[in-house]
Amino acid sequence: MEETQITPSLSVRSWSSISTQDQSSISTQDQSSTAGQASSTGPQPSKPSVIPPPVKSKGPSSGAGVRRMRRIIAEDAEWSVAIVPLLTELCIQHIVKNFQNNPILKQLPQSIRKKVLNHLSPDLPLAVTANLIEDENYWRRCCTQRWPVCHVDEHGGSWKRMFFELHLENLLKHFIPSTTDPEVILNLLPLCRNYVHTIRVDQFLPPVQLPPPLRGGDQSDSGSEGEMEEPATDHYQLGDLVAGLSHLEELDLVYGVKDCGMNFEWNLFLFTYRDCHSLAAAVKACHTLKIFRLTRSKVDDDKARILICSLLDHAALEELDLSHNLIGDRGARAAAKLLGHSRLRVLNLANNQVRAPGAQSLAHALAHNSDLVSLNLRLNCIEDEGGQALAHALQTNKCLTTLHLGGNELSEPTATLLSQVLSINTTLTSINLSCNRIGPDGGKQLLEGMSDNKTLLEFDLRLSDIAQESEYLIGQALCANREAARQRALSPSHFMSPATAKGPENPAG
């Protein structure tokens, strides 16, 4: 609306300025005609330079009457008022140019704001843009300019959030303690505190020790005298950052170094006690944290206990992932204790060193738990004792849906107990028993158990020495179950399952 109001007056003004050069007055009729023309050609991209009136019109204007001259101007095909840029365009350009010094956005009307945002450069300092601009398009441009691959879905579908999360991640990845100024990150904190929900960092650089690399280039083999350097290999302390982020929900950390190449040293991958303590304190202080992942970081029992102790009775925590670490039975026991003292829904201890006692304590906690949905103990060594304990726990548990026991040296006794569980339990939907030595008899028993089960949808029994026939039959039963589950999800419980019906839309879209 405003544009249409502005354009006629603008055109009139420019027109009159031109016509005064021609020493002629303009009748209203011509004004209106030219105005109409201007408004019709208004949206054309305006050029900054003002084109002088054509030469042709000058000749007759001197000799002929005013009227004729005007007619000639009107008929001049090359002449166009639209070439003159609109004042709004000029203003917008100015605003865009000086946005860094004088950010005006909120005061602008909606349509103009959009134009300004379209023209803003993605290189503007974050201090100006962070809290001022909400427009997703702008942030999208920022993201695509910096990173070639952008998965906005992994950041809640918000480009702005994605930008800040990736930016922060970048900074953290390349932060070198005691050389990089910590203010770099802390300065960003007030800008990004409202937008960062997730921190995913898969490398933490250790402090640079200039003398050892210089000298120790040759001595790299013997350079692993940890005791001396241990205090010096602490990584960035997340405490301040985590405390500053008010919406932090996910923390995904790997204490390690990527792409070290031939500079490999063991102490590059050290997760020190100080790191552990500071991380524990940070996690404890963050009340919004829902997902905590600490993988591939050489977390042993003691460190795991320190971390888990700080997570006891955490209000929001839902997922704990400590996979690919060195956690043994004591750490597993601590995790079992955590099950009783939090509302954990997902627990991942894959590829650790949990053995039968740890599994037994986990099973004991599981028997009385009503929150845990998924338990992953892949590539541990819980053996039959642990497996049996877990199976017993599943006879009373009513909420676990996913259980991964792949590669745990389980054998027939566990299978017998699990088959009993299968006939009773109605919540489990997915079990993974791959890479175990269940044997053909165990397979038969599992098949018996499956025949009574109507809820299990996935049952992975690959490479577990089961007779092909029983595996095939189990597969058939699973198919039937899946079909039934699909029918159930489609028809009877619509009132319960709008979420499940909607669920697939998001990944598909």
Binding site: L457, L490, A508
Partner: protein, 730 residues
């Protein structure tokens, strides 16, 4: 990667199919109401789908599949196929991971075993080397004791050999371990290569899978689309067929209608022609008739014209006349106007006069009303005086009456005495005193005049008013004889209470009429109505009522309130209620009243002790009690209207005729007889007197004779006289 996701995709696809026909409101609309509607529609659609499924589709799938047409079948088929594909693909991809896992496990197991062996070996080595070392150290001790350098040298050599052996062992071990390490390194490199190969394979497979899946998805999509297209074509052809059929039918019908219409049109045309001919004929006849009529009318017109001219002339003449009259009338009008003005003046005068007079009359009226009020006051006073005088008159009358009666009674008693004497003495008959009613009568014959309840009411109220006016002046000789034992005040209060509490007995009409009236009048009329409703008619009834109230209150009030005063009127009443008291002379009663007056004045007014709520109960009790004795009393009341003189004369006449006529006759006869008797007696008396005188003369003479005889002369005499005659016997 995961089958549920792909299933979800399919579901979503189906959902889309389901959703497409609903082109109504969208869930993502900006309008909240539209969103709500969209959700509702969605829910309805789901419900519908569910119901359908519940009805049949789910139960007998075959039929439904046939019903569901090709597209549905195709959809199901491709869904199953795709699910299978996805499942297989994921399995294929994850197989690598699983294989790696199991390799890792095997490696771990082996590693453990090797580690254990190594440890064992190391421990053995440590033990043996320790033994050797100890041996060597033992020998050092031995060496210290050796004194011969030859031996010492030998021993040292041996020691050196031993140490070298020890070191060699250790070195061997170290080299072994290093070899192992090297092998492990090689193994590690191999593993790395293997793993990278695995990852490559994984990637390959994933890519392949993705491609595969995409391809199949596309294929299936095409299949489904094709199926839909086929189905649509079928539908189209079907519909086209139907449409054509319908069109043909429609055309046939149209044709039929057209034929019908043509036929009808022809019929109508025929009819129209007939009609037209008929109309023409009729038109001609009518035309002829009308022409004739026109001729007649023309003649008439001529006539009318003539008359018109005549009339015109007449009217002109009339017009002239009227003009003149008009002039006259204008003159008259002006005159009349003048007259009207005059009359207006007069009217105004009269009006002012009238106003004056109205004022005068108002003043007069006011003065008259004041006069009237005064007169009313006077009248009331007069009435009071009259009552007073009536009372006095009554008294006087009674006194006079009593006096006369006494006289009469005296006379009667004398008459009775006489009669009795006559009867007993004269007639020798037993006398019985005549027993007449009037003989026992004392005082005026008119019985105590029974006042009606209303009158008493009026009096009570009047008295109350008066008392209100002059409270101090207690009238000792209250002409009201009602409060024998109850003061007028008490009665009044009870009555007021009754009036207030039993308003329901009064008719509504009456109440509306009563509104403008005075308070006391209002009370009076209300009470009248209430009494008539209750059946209280006579004075006695009223007293009974009042007494009943008091009694009731006395019985039902708590004992603390029954003070001596409460009891005393009761006692008094019991003594006073006797009929004798009622007939007592006025004076005595007055006295008693006077005596009682101060007693009653002292205690507080009792009716306040009667709770208004009790009034109805009391009334109920009273009415039930009153019913029984009332019935036969009613006729008596009618006789006692005014004091009648008729009986007086009869009374007095009766008094005169105490002695009946027969006795009078008797008396008359007796009288005459007695008179005669008297006469005889008088004669006899005279005779007796004569007799006595004669006797006396006789005696005197005898005496004289005696004397003479006795006298000496006689003796002297020759012949005494005595001898001559005999002396009379005395």
């Amino acid at each position: 990667m995961n089958p549920p996701g792909s299933l979800g995709v399919l579901e979503e696809k189906e959902e889309e199919h389901l959703a497409t026909p609903v082109l109504g409101p969208s869930i993502h609309s900006d309008n909240p109401q539209e969103r709500i509607q969209a959700r509702r529609l969605r829910i309805a659609a789901r419900l519908e789908a569910r119901r359908r499924e519940a009805l049949g589709e789910y139960l007998d799938g075959k039929e439904s599949e046939e019903d569901q047409s090709k597209s549905y079948k195709q959809k199901e088929e491709s869904r199953l196929k795709l699910a299978k594909l996805l499942l297989c693909g994921t399995e294929l991809v994850t197989n690598i991971q699983v294989a790696a896992d199991i390799r890792e496990i095997h490696r771990r197991v082996e590693e453990e075993e090797i580690k254990r062996q190594r440890l064992e070996k190391l421990e053995n080595e440590v033990k043996t080397s320790q033994d050797k070392f100890e041996e060597i150290t033992m020998k050092w001790e031995e060496g210290k004791q050796k004194r011969i350098p030859q031996e010492l040298w030998e021993m040292l050599n041996a020691q050196q050999v031993h140490c070298a052996g020890l070191i060699e062992d250790k070195n061997k071990l170290i080299s072994e371990l290093q070899q192992e390490l090297k092998a492990k390194d090689d193994q590690y490199v191999k593993d790395l290569k293997k793993q990278s190969g695995d990852i490559c394979l994984l990637l390959e497979r994933m890519e392949e899978q993705v491609k595969n899946v995409m391809k199949t998805f596309r294929q299936e999509l095409q299949h489904i689309e094709k199926a839909f297209e086929v189905e649509r074509e079928e539908l189209l052809t079907n519909n086209k067929k139907k449409w054509e059929q319908a069109l043909q039918a429609h055309n046939a019908k149209e044709l039929e209608y057209l034929m019908n219409r043509i036929k009808k049109v022809e019929d109508h045309e025929k009819q129209l022609n007939k009609q037209r001919i008929w109309d023409c004929e009729e038109y001609n006849t009518i035309k002829i008739k009308l022409e004739q009529d026109v001729q007649i009318l023309e003649q008439q017109l001529q006539q009318m014209k003539a008359t018109y001219q005549l009339n015109q002339e007449k009217l002109e003449y009339n017009f002239q006349v009227l003009k003149k009259r008009d002039e006259e009338s204008t003159v008259i009008k002006s005159q009349q106007k003048r007259k009207i003005n005059c009359l207006h003046d007069v009217l105004n005068n009269l009006r002012s006069k009238y106003n004056k007079q109205v004022k005068q009359f108002q003043e007069e009226n006011q003065s008259l009303t004041s006069d009237y009020k005064r007169l009313v006051m006077q009248f009331k006073e007069m009435q009071k005086a009259m009552r007073h005088f009536a009372l006095i008159d009554d008294k006087q009358f009674r006194e006079i009456w009593l006096m006369n009666e006494e006289e009469v009674k005296d006379l009667i008693s004398r008459a009775f005495d006489v009669d009795r004497i006559i009867h007993t003495h004269h007639l020798g008959l037993p006398w019985t005193a005549p027993d007449f009613w009037f003989l026992k009568n004392v005082g005026p014959i008119s019985q105590q005049q029974q006042k009606s309840a209303t009158q008493i009411l009026e009096e009570v109220l009047m008295e109350a008013e008066e008392e209100g006016a002059e409270e101090a002046a207690s009238e000792p000789e209250s002409y009201l004889d009602l409060p024998k034992q109850v003061s007028a005040k008490t009665t009044r209060k009870i009555l007021m209470l009754l009036c207030d509490e039993s308003g329901f007995l009064v008719e509504r009409k009456l109440l509306s009429l009563l509104l403008p009236l005075d308070k006391s009048e209002c009370y009076l009329l209300k009470l009248d109505a209430i009494f008539s409703a209750l059946g209280i008619e006579s004075e006695d009834d009223l007293y009974k009522l009042v007494n009943f109230f008091l009694k009731y209150q006395a019985h039902h009030s708590p004992p603390s309130q029954i003070n001596p005063w409460h009891l005393s009127p009761l006692q008094e009443r019991t003594s006073l209620v006797s009929p004798l008291e009622k007939l007592d002379p006025q004076g005595e009663k007055e006295g008693s009243l006077v005596d009682r007056e101060p007693q009653e004045k002292q205690p507080p007014p009792s009716p306040q002790l009667i709770h208004p709520n009790d009034v109805l109960k009391i009334l109920e009790a009273f009415v039930t009690g009153l019913r029984k004795p009332r019935d036969f009393r009613a006729p008596v009341k009618l006789l006692k209207v005014v004091r009648d003189d008729s009986k007086d004369s009869a009374y007095w006449k009766a008094l005169t005729t105490v002695i009946p006529a027969t006795t009078l006759n008797l008396w008359d006869a007796l009288y005459t007889a007695l008179e005669k008797y008297h006469l005889v007696l008088t004669q006899r008396a005279e005779l007796l007197i004569e007799n006595s005188s004669l006797e006396r003369q006789n005696t005197e003479l005898q005496q004289l004779l005696q004397q003479y005889l006795d006298s000496k002369i006689n003796s002297e005499l020759q012949v005494p006289p005595t001898e001559v005659f005999r002396v009379p016997t005395k």
